[in-house]
């Protein structure tokens, strides 16, 4: 369902990913680990086609990075839920409207939008803050709003870029449980994280990004 064939990416003439091949099948749950600046976010950008590989080919659903037309990209992105590392909430509208936007985009009827948005906000524990503007939220609350938006239109894959970086351990565990339940209903999950404890608690296939390469990895038992 997601396949990378011999993908190389250079940014500013510096190679970030180098001849990578990778496959994520439907309904899988995959962790992405690796040092700061290793290329985890870059890999995700390839999948939602915010970035195109210099060499190789990225295939997502039926779209291929080498043949996709500009016009088709929005339709690809609707099938891919993304929790951005820096949240990327629309700063000019409330949390509710942020979540609703992902549904408006696909033309859902108003009633559906309301019901779905409220239900997903409740699931991430942010229902009481739904009429707040993003910059009136704490870091962790913003992160949960970003998660809610990514989940709301039931994507077939969820890309979560360090979705628990600003959350306390208890909420992190809850979010992970939520991601697993979503995963069980068929959604693939690709989650970048530095939280090895979380990986051990919820073990899944783990990929390590290092020196431009992706290898099967394992959460190291560091003391943290």
């Amino acid at each position: 369902m997601i396949e990378l064939f011999n993908v190389s990416v250079k940014i500013d003439n510096r190679p970030v990913l180098n001849d990578i091949s990778l496959q994520i099948t439907k309904g899988e749950f995959v962790y992405l680990i690796g040092k700061t600046g290793a290329g985890k976010t870059t890999l995700m950008r390839l999948i939602y086609m915010d970035l195109f590989p210099g060499k190789g080919n990225v295939i997502v659903d039926r779209h291929s990075s080498s043949t996709i037309r500009r016009k088709e990209i929005p339709f690809l992105r609707r099938k891919v839920g993304v929790v951005f590392q820096d949240f990327k909430l629309l700063p000019d509208r409330t949390v509710f409207d942020n979540v609703a936007f992902a549904l408006q985009v696909i033309g859902s009827p108003k009633r559906t939008i309301r019901a779905r948005a409220l239900s997903v906000l409740t699931r991430v524990g942010l229902n009481h803050k739904r009429y707040q503007m993003p910059h009136h939220l704490s870091g962790g609350e913003q992160q949960r709003a970003a998660i809610a938006r990514a989940l709301v239109n039931e994507p077939f894959i969820l890309l979560a870029d360090e979705p628990t970086g600003n959350l306390d351990p208890q909420v992190s565990t809850e979010i992970l449980a939520l991601l697993e339940s979503i995963n069980r209903s068929g959604t693939a999950v690709l989650m970048a994280t530095h939280n090895y404890g979380l990986i051990r608690q919820f073990p899944h296939r783990t990929l390590l990004v290092e020196n431009g390469k992706i290898t099967a990895g394992e959460a190291p038992y560091s003391k943290t």
């Binding site: 939602y48 915010d50 016009k71 929005p74 339709f75 690809l76 992105r77 609707r78 891919v80 993304v82 951005f84 990327k88 909430l89 629309l90 700063p91 000019d92 509208r93 936007f101 992902a102 408006q104 985009v105 696909i106 033309g107 938006r149």
Partner: protein
Amino acid sequence: MKLLFLLKEGFAGFRRARLAVTIALATITLSLALLGLFGLVAQNLSDSFQRVFYQIRLEVFVDPSLSESDFQTLKSEIERIEAVQSAEYISPGAALQEFEKDFGKDLVAVLESNPLPPSFRVLLKTGHSRPEAIQAVVRRIEALKAVDEVVYPENLIRLLDKYFLLGILIAVGLGTAIFAISTLLIFNTIRLAIHSRQRVIEIMRLVGATDAFIKAPFIFEGILQGLIGGLLAAGLLWLAGDLVRYLFLPGLSVPWLYLAGLVAVGVLLGCIGSYLSVGKYLNA
């Protein structure tokens, strides 16, 4: 996409980017007011210039031996020429009085008899002020029998005509400059107003919004800005017109249609400006 959604989003833009939208609106209002003001002044100036300087007067000297009824016939013959508005008979006595006013009593005193012939003072309709048009009329009057000579300040008319043409040229030049500048200014602030939401557009794209979906509310917002700006500008001009009319120019006209045109220009510029501007951020 439903019209209702568009409408709501378009208005929401006013709330979401208050300063940027307010400033774009102010720019549109001010630019249009300036444009409209200039157009009004030019229109009214040209009108009154034509009214005041351009009701051409011809002196038609006629054969003194004509009878009273001949004068009547001649008068109606002259007035039948379509460019002529009226012809007024000036008797030699009346002519002499005017002559005395222009050249002094002493000169008249030395005259032994009244040397002035009877004449008609012919007023042309406004709009017949180009030298060639006047010459054509003059030739037709001279062709009438019993008319001796037609006298009019040809050089002055040519001079005024030249300056009037120059004035029109200047007005058109200035008007074009103001229009071009207004357009650029409006486009620029709309661009800047949308630029301030560059991040929003970027995020919308990342979340899977199509270009059309992103564009539509912005364009609608642009149209709204143009409409409101146009209405404000029209209102300002209307009020200013009233004030000026009351203070020193009772003849000033501020036609409704003109103001409506201004609003239309606003809507058009708002629409095109926002269309072009969002486009820039979508194709980036």
